[in-house]
């Protein structure tokens, strides 16, 4: 992929980023080249699209806009789930690939490192990724607020639904010890239990299994309550008053809401969890405003650097040109200067160099100072013309 992209005329540096919902090609190219057209054709032909189909599928950013876009992507401000952590990993991975293929250079290397810094700052200086925004993560967070550590905890899944499975997986990842699956059909329960190396039981033996459980996740399609407050009250003593976290993902409900009033029992249904997720999402949106400000700062910093970069070659060629003139003139004068003694020759040499440096000092300083200014390009162009550097 990368060699093909580099072969497109005008493309100097390139990086190819593909995530679950986007394909992006980040390119450093000559402004006057026809690189954008080449890239569009490349993508369209690669995806087997006609020109008309492809036209609506592309978006294109240039200059500062492109820099801002990349920073926002890396900081997960442009993701479907704002603030998710994977995107930065994916960006880093595609950068690593480009590095290995020698597809990046001064501009993209700097750009990508700045984007990582922007992402890192957004993560550490805002609360954008602090609170969970998925139901299963919210359930895990609640479990931690109840049990502290999940080590050695037993999970009881009632019903073999997908959501229950997902939440169960995450609880196991966080240290929960064992899973019991209770289902009307034992075959299905066994299928799921096998995945977790857990135990499968009939729904009839729920009472006994509730005694062992610390976390219960229920997601059956039953029309009535499967776990009633009375049931819990009866086993209260046998459970030795241990804390019990009930998660009811089913609609209609599987667990009697009255259970919530029982001591040391914490019942959350899918709506409660969704409320928590919504609230967390709102917090993220508020934090996103702060994050955008950080991105703006970092964009300004990068653009500054880029502008400085533009003036650097001019300064270098200006110095080289002056050096060449000095060398030519000194060579010409070598004939009569050979009559002087070594000491005087050195003095003349120093004098010439010092005059040249003093003359160049002002234009070089102006080039450096103005490099961050919008008008720097005009000045660079003027210097190049005045000294005939091109």
């Amino acid at each position: 992929m990368l060699p093909g992209l580099l072969a497109i005329s005008g493309v100097e540096e390139v990086l190819y980023l593909s995530t679950c919902n986007r394909v992006e090609i980040i390119v450093s190219a000559d402004e006057n080249s026809n690189a954008p057209k080449g890239l569009r054709d490349f993508l369209a032909s690669g995806g087997g699209l006609t020109e008309a189909e492809a036209a609506g599928a592309f978006y294109e950013y240039r200059g500062e806009e492109a820099v801002r876009h990349i920073f926002r992507v890396a900081a997960s401000l442009d993701s479907m789930v704002m603030g998710e952590a994977q995107i930065l990993g994916q960006v880093k991975e595609s950068y690593r690939e480009a590095l290995e293929k020698y597809a990046t250079g001064v501009v993209l290397n700097r750009l990508m490192h700045c984007s990582f810094r922007a992402a890192k700052r957004v993560r550490s200086e805002t609360g954008i990724a602090v609170n969970p925004v998925s139901v299963s993560h919210a359930a895990v967070e609640l479990a931690k607020k109840i049990f502290g550590s999940l080590d050695g905890k037993t999970i009881l899944l009632i019903g073999a639904g997908e959501m229950a499975e997902l939440t169960g997986t995450q609880l196991i990842e966080k240290g929960a010890q064992s899973i019991i699956v209770a289902n009307r059909s034992l075959a299905q329960a066994e299928l799921l239990a096998e995945k977790f190396h857990g135990e499968a039981v009939f729904l009839d033996s729920l009472d006994k299994k509730l005694i062992e459980a610390d976390i219960v996740i229920s997601s059956t399609g039953a029309p009535d309550f499967i776990v009633t407050a009375d049931m819990l009250r009866k086993i209260h003593h046998e459970r030795r008053n241990r804390l019990l976290f009930l998660i009811d993902i089913a609609v209609p409900r599987d667990i009697d809401p009255a259970a919530s009033a029982l001591e040391n029992v914490y019942l959350y249904n899918i709506d409660n969890l969704q409320d928590i997720v919504d609230e967390n999402m709102n917090v993220r949106k508020k934090e996103a405003v702060k994050a955008e400000m950080i991105v703006d700062e970092e964009v300004a910093r990068y653009i500054n650097w880029q502008k400085e970069l533009e003036s650097v070659p001019t300064i270098v060629s200006l110095r080289n040109k002056a050096g060449e003139i000095v060398k030519d003139e000194m060579d010409k004068a070598a004939g009569w200067m050979s009559n002087l003694d070594k000491d005087d020759q050195e003095k003349i040499d120093n004098l010439v160099n010092s005059v040249v440096n003093k003359v160049l000092h002002a234009p070089v300083s102006v080039l450096k100072e103005e490099s961050s200014d919008i008008s720097s390009r005009d000045i660079v162009a003027a210097v190049r013309r005045l000294f005939r550097l091109d």
Binding site: E141, G148, N241, E263, Y266, Y268, I276
Partner: protein
Amino acid sequence: MILTNLELISFKIALMLCAVSTVGYLSSLLVKKVKLAKISTWILAAAFVFLTADLLFVIHDSSWLVNPDSRDFLLLCAWSVCAVYLALQFKTKTRVLGAFISPFILLFMIAAAGEEAGKTLRPQNLQSWITAVHLVLAIVGEALFIIASCAGIMFVMQNRMLKHKKLSRTSRLLPSLSDLDRINHICLLWGFPVLSLGIIAGAVFAQLSWQSGWLTDPKVIWTFAGWIIYGFLLHQRLAIGWKGYRMAVFSGAAFILLLLSYCSVRLCFSTLHNFI
């Protein structure tokens, strides 16, 4: 004389550090940042080091075990609570607990600063090593109960928020229910025998020196009531299996009750323990 100066300096530093850490802890609760509580814990640990140095100077200076003054007594209270809290930190890492504990430590230290140094704590007739043992054990035991109750009060707060199905910032800041229950358990488990030994030491001394009359002393009755209540709580926990919410409510209530009755005894009655 030099030692006295050193003692005063380390006390002042400890007091200042303690005040800073209390402010830190309370602000961590307000701005809801655990990091602030972590820093405050380190500051409190530093305060503890100076407090320990201060106590060592006092002991070296004035044969403290024989005759502590009331300032030293309050210092010991502060030191005990601080020691127990910091020890718990190693086990449970529930730093926010400090927001509830550190004000007590600070109060003890301010009271100590207010007391006139050199005033004899125990009347001449009460001076013996056994009263010193009684004093130290009773204070450490009570300190453990203070922490058990603070954990209980925090449990009630956290429980309330979780039952209301809200995961607020305060809730995120407070330790988990299990951790708070464990702190309550550990403190009751250690506090009860320590206080029991302290009471026995006091009773032995009182019986030997006065034979009778001391049992009706209001502060003796108060201590005994506290001992019974905590004994009851420990019994319920170990034998009946009380856990979590009920335990937390009873610990919190017992603490408030004992605090109120202590204040009334302190203000209204003249007792054998007038110095406390």
